[in-house]
Every structure is written in C-alpha cells, then in structure tokens.
Homo-oligomer: 204 residues x 4
C-alpha cells in the first residue's frame, strides 16, 4: 500500500470552492432601481451578465482541468495540497474580478487583472500536474504518457492566451477580451486524449 | 472497464451549487427598518418570502430530476460535463431571479425572466438526459426503457408549463405565476417510474 | 437488491446546506463605523454574536439529528426527499432569523419567529424519521427498536421546548430565550442510545 | 465491527465549511468608487487583499491539520462531533475577523481578536486530536505513536505563536502580525511525520 493521503478530501474541498465561486458570481447582479420596466432594467446589467457568464465558463474550464488531473491521481501529499490551495486561492479571487470587470470592462487594468487571475489559475494548475506526474507513487498505475502530455499542452495553450490577453489589455481592451473568450473554446470539444481517459481504479 | 470519467465529482459539484443556491436565496430577505413590531415588518416581506419558498421548491424539483438521471449513469464525458455546467449556470441564475421576482412580482418582465430561467434549466436537463441515454457506455447496464421515457416525459411536462407561463406573463402575471406553481405539483407524488428506480450498481 | 435511491446525494446536499447556513451566519456581523477602538466596537455587536453562536449550536443539534437518522437508512424515495427538502428549507431560513434576532432580541415577534423556525425544523426532522422507520425497505437490516424510539424521544423533547419558547415569547422574551437555550443541552452528552449506534453497513 | 459513526459526514461538513469560509473571504473586497484607474483603486485595497491571502493560508493550515487527523480516524461519536463543531465555529468566525483586520490592521484589538480566533481554532483542533487518540476504538488500527505526537507538536507550536501574537498586539501590532505570519511557515514543508502517513484503511 503506497504512502500519502487520499485525494478524496482535496476533491471535496475543491468542488466546494468551485461550487461557491460559481454561485456567488450572481451576488454581483442587483436590479437597478428605477421607473423603467424590469426587462429594461435587467438589460442595463448586460456587462455584468456577460462577465458572470464568461466567468462561469472560465471556472468550468478550470474545474474540468482539475477533474482530469485528479482522475489520474491516487494520492496527494503536503506540498501538492499547498499547490492545490494556491490554485483555489486564485479561484476564490475570480468572483471579485468578475464583479470589477462587469462594472469597468473598458478599463485596461480591470481586463489585465482579470486575465492575470486566469493566468495564475493556469500556472498553479500546471504546477499541480507537473509535480504529481514526476512522482509515480501519487499516480494511478500505468499512467498513459499521452495523457500526461495532453493535459499539459491544454494548460499551456490557455496560459499563452491569457498572457496575450494581459498584454493586449493595455493596447485595446476589446481585443484583449476577445482573446480571453477564445480560451474556453479549445476545451469544449472532445479530443483524442478524452478517449484515453479511464476512471481511476479503486483507491486502496 | 468502460472509458470516461466517474460521475462522482459532477455529483459533488452539482450538489454544492444546489446547496448554495438554495441557501443564498435567504440573502434577499432583509428586515425593513421601521417603528412597527418585528412581526409586522416581517409580514411586509411576504412577496419575497413567497418567492424564496417557491424558488426553493423549484430548485428541489430540478435537483431531484438531476438525481434521478445520475442514478442511472456510470460515466460522464467532456460534452456531457459542459451540458451539466450549462444546467448549473441556469441554477446559479435563479437566486437573482428570485430576488427580482420578490420585489417586482407584478411586472411582466420579472415573471417572464423567472419562468424563462426555469425553462432554460429544463431544456439543459433534458439535453443532459438525451445525450446520456444515446450512449450506452455511459449508462448502467440493463437500463429500463420505461425509466428513459418516464424521466423525459416529466421534464417535457415542465417545459410546457414554463413556456406557457412565459407567454401568460405578458397577458396576466397572476395567471402566469399560477401556472408556474402547478409545475412542482407533478413532481411530488410517487409514480410507477419510481418503483423501477434501483440504486446504481457499484461504479468500477 | 432493494429498490429506491441511494442516500449519499441527500447527505451531500444536506451537508452542503448546513455548511453554508453555518458559515453565512457570520455575514450578519459587520463592524460598526465609529471612533472607538475596534474592541469596543466589536463589543457592541454582542447580541449579534450571541445570536450567531446560538444559531450555530442549533444548526449543530439539527445536523447531528439528521446524521443519526441517515446512519440507519440505506435508501430514500421521492416523498422522503421532499420531507428532507422541507427540513432544509427551514434550515436555510435560520440565518435570516438569526440576523433578525441579533438586532431585535427584545421583540416578542422576533423571538417567536426564531423559535418557530426551530420548531419547524424539528417537526420536519421527526416526519423524516417516522416516514422512514415505517418502511423497512429503506432502513438498515436489524434496526434496533431502541434507536427508533430513542431518536424520536430526543426530537419530541426539542419540540416541546421550542413550543414552550414560542408561547413564552409573548410573556417574557428573556424567559423564552432561556428555554430555547436549554434545548441543545440535552444533545451534548452521550446517552445509552449512542452506545447502540453502529455504522451503516456497506450500501449495495 | 466497532461502534460509532462513520467519519465521512463530518468530513463533508468540515470541507463544506472550509470551502465557504475560504470563498466568502472575497466578499470583503469591493472596488472603491472613484475617478482613478481600476488598477490604482484595486491598489488601495492592499490591506484587505493581504488579510484575504493571509486568512486563506491560515484556513489552509487548519484544514490540512484536520485532514491529517481524520486520516487516522475511523469513527466519531457525539462528544467528538461537538468538539469538531466548536472547531468549525471558530472557522466560520474567521471571515468576519479577516474583514475587520483588513480595514483596521493597526488597531491592537483587531489584531488580538484575529490572533485569538486562530488560537481558538488551534485549541479545539488539539482537543479533537487528544480526545480521539485516547479512544483506540475511534482510530485506525496500528496507529503510529510518532504520528500521534507529531501532529500534537505541530498544533502546540501554532498555539504558542498565536498566543505570542495576542500579547504582542498590545505592544506593537506590526510585530504581532509578523509573528502570526510565521505560523503557517512550519506547515509548508514535508517532515518525517509526512512519510509515516498512510491512507486510512477501508472503513467498515
């Protein structure tokens, strides 16, 4: 029996943080007071609604990335938990960024900080995967090298896009946001990697 | 051993989002300041209280629908996770709608947007079920066709009611809300389908 | 293999709702602005702090009650899920009541509504237990009748105290609150029932 | 088969409370209104941002401590659940303290109350471990005495630092905060104890 801690609690904590971050995004929405109809007042919220939907999708991308990683891990240890916590710290920061972006989406700083948080999430997620993959005692037996490489490539692609988005923010916030919106696209479709993913064997 | 991801984490994320959405409904309640007794001031909150209870029940209906689906599934995959996330996005939007409805329940737009969110939840839940049922590798072995059809019929009935509620909102908000209140009724009683539901076999 | 749904998801939803209700109690605390020291300004929050601690303990009592019940159950079904949801509805209502009580603890209505919510939680928890105990197919085999009776007696004792607290609220709010504070005491100590509680056998 | 309750639900409740406490820390951040750029307005939030990051790390330390304890436990009982709830009560109190500290970090009372909450968390966590270790029927078989002692030493070290921080708060808040920041450092690195941690055997 290998040493280390089960991954089930890190899964529970992570799923909890994501569930809450996804749900409290909505707390930044508040119906403006006014004489107009509710529909027209909701309509004025469109930048906040867009920020909320985009942020939800970003959280979805990151959650799926974490899910795929843990699917191939059997154990965790103290340093890996801290890397995971750094990842979660960036996740908890996103609702604040989403609220800021929703009200100031034309400000370069708002866009750059938002993209920077996505970048930070990606960096910590990549560190999590690299640390784990180098320690076979933490991973499932017979880990497919194509999965190791495939998950890494996906994250690096996201890092490049978010870094590009940060740089563009100071040139043209609209272009920066468009680049950021491209990020999730690559995570929607099934790829050959998905065909190689098998459920984790029973943890013992 | 079939390919794909375990459903346990999608269950955890979903249960987390529902738990939070159900609980933060109460954040829209705030005791009005004033000289009157607390009881009389709480009483003035009745539209918000009603919206809170109705929204809680709606979330309950949708959670049970999801629970019944997952009970017959063994695996998930990337597209199905995204369908599930679209479902969760509509769930996280409900507390905002509930707060809007609680303060402007006579406005056609408020009622229509509320019913529209319920409709969106139903559509994504139906998509989730249809996608899964067409892929036997994701489902439990020996899936009962009566369960496949039964769960679908239930959702479609809810879609019809919420679409009717949206249309009625622009004619008579009271009639629209009554139709919406009929929606959960069909989900309270046990039906023959319930007798056929067996716990998912051990996932391996 | 008996029919019905696994209890694991109702546990996850319930634990999520309790975790959130316990944690958002703290959102009713806000440091008053002012010139005084922080310590003196925190001190002025004492009725809110007391309400927060008492409500946390009440949620603990109710969570433990639910935990003991589910420990002896193997399956759930549609009506039982709805009874559980009614229980959770009363739980989500408690943070609002706690905030009201914290700011108006001398108002009979505030005290009575608070105690009434506790009463409602107890009634739904009792209904949950009674419904389940009458259906052996939902319970663990060899359910100990002393456990059936013991858990019921505990809840009924709490119902009597919270009903008494409601009645007293209109006579003397202080006496009413003291009665309410007696409620958790009976749930702190180990009793002979605890010795008979065995972990649920593996659910299959 | 030993008596007592499974630990899985106390794990779920605890993970939920931590996930929420970690995530609602961000609710104390709100972009100040003003004419300046978003970046400069975010910059003015630095004491709140620092308090948020430090509090997140503190919650991480405490969560890991709880995780290591539960890893060696197979059962819980009523008194132990209450000790765990007292621990969770202190955890839910931290977001309030973090918000207070973020806006008044130069006030001795704010620093002392913050450090006092950390102290309370440590005391209840230590009580949890001591209570459990004295009851072999709650623990995994063949519990390593070095683990028993090692986890205890770690907590006691944290208690000493947080007590020192409280005392220093009334002399020099800056020195007090520095001592508090030393607390997590000892929890980052792997120690010989970590090598002895083995996953909990299957609970039956």
């Amino acid at each position: 029996m290998s040493k280390g801690l089960h991954v089930n609690r890190i899964e529970a904590l992570t799923d909890g943080v994501f569930a809450i971050a996804m749900t409290i995004l909505v707390l930044s929405l508040e119906l403006p007071k006014g004489d107009g109809s509710v529909a027209s007042r909701v309509w004025t919220l469109w930048p906040k609604l867009a920020s909320y939907v985009v942020s939800f999708v970003m959280l979805g991308v990151l959650w799926i990335g974490h899910h795929y990683q843990l699917n191939h891990m059997r154990r965790t240890n103290r340093p890996l938990i801290w890397i995971n916590l750094a990842f979660l710290l960036s996740i908890t920061f996103l609702p604040f960024n989403a609220a800021v972006l929703g009200s100031t989406y034309e400000d370069p700083g708002a866009v750059a900080i938002y993209a920077g948080t996505i970048l930070l999430s990606g960096v910590t997620l990549l560190a999590h995967w690299r640390y784990a993959c180098r320690r076979p005692e933490l991973m499932v037996p017979d880990l497919d090298p194509a999965v190791v490489r495939g998950l890494e490539v996906r994250i690096v692609a996201g890092l490049v896009l978010s870094a590009l988005s940060i740089a563009l923010a100071f040139v043209d916030t609209r272009a920066s946001l468009i680049v950021l919106l491209l990020l999730p696209v690559g995570y929607f479709a099934r790829t050959p990697i998905d065909e190689r993913v098998a459920p984790r064997v029973e943890k013992t």
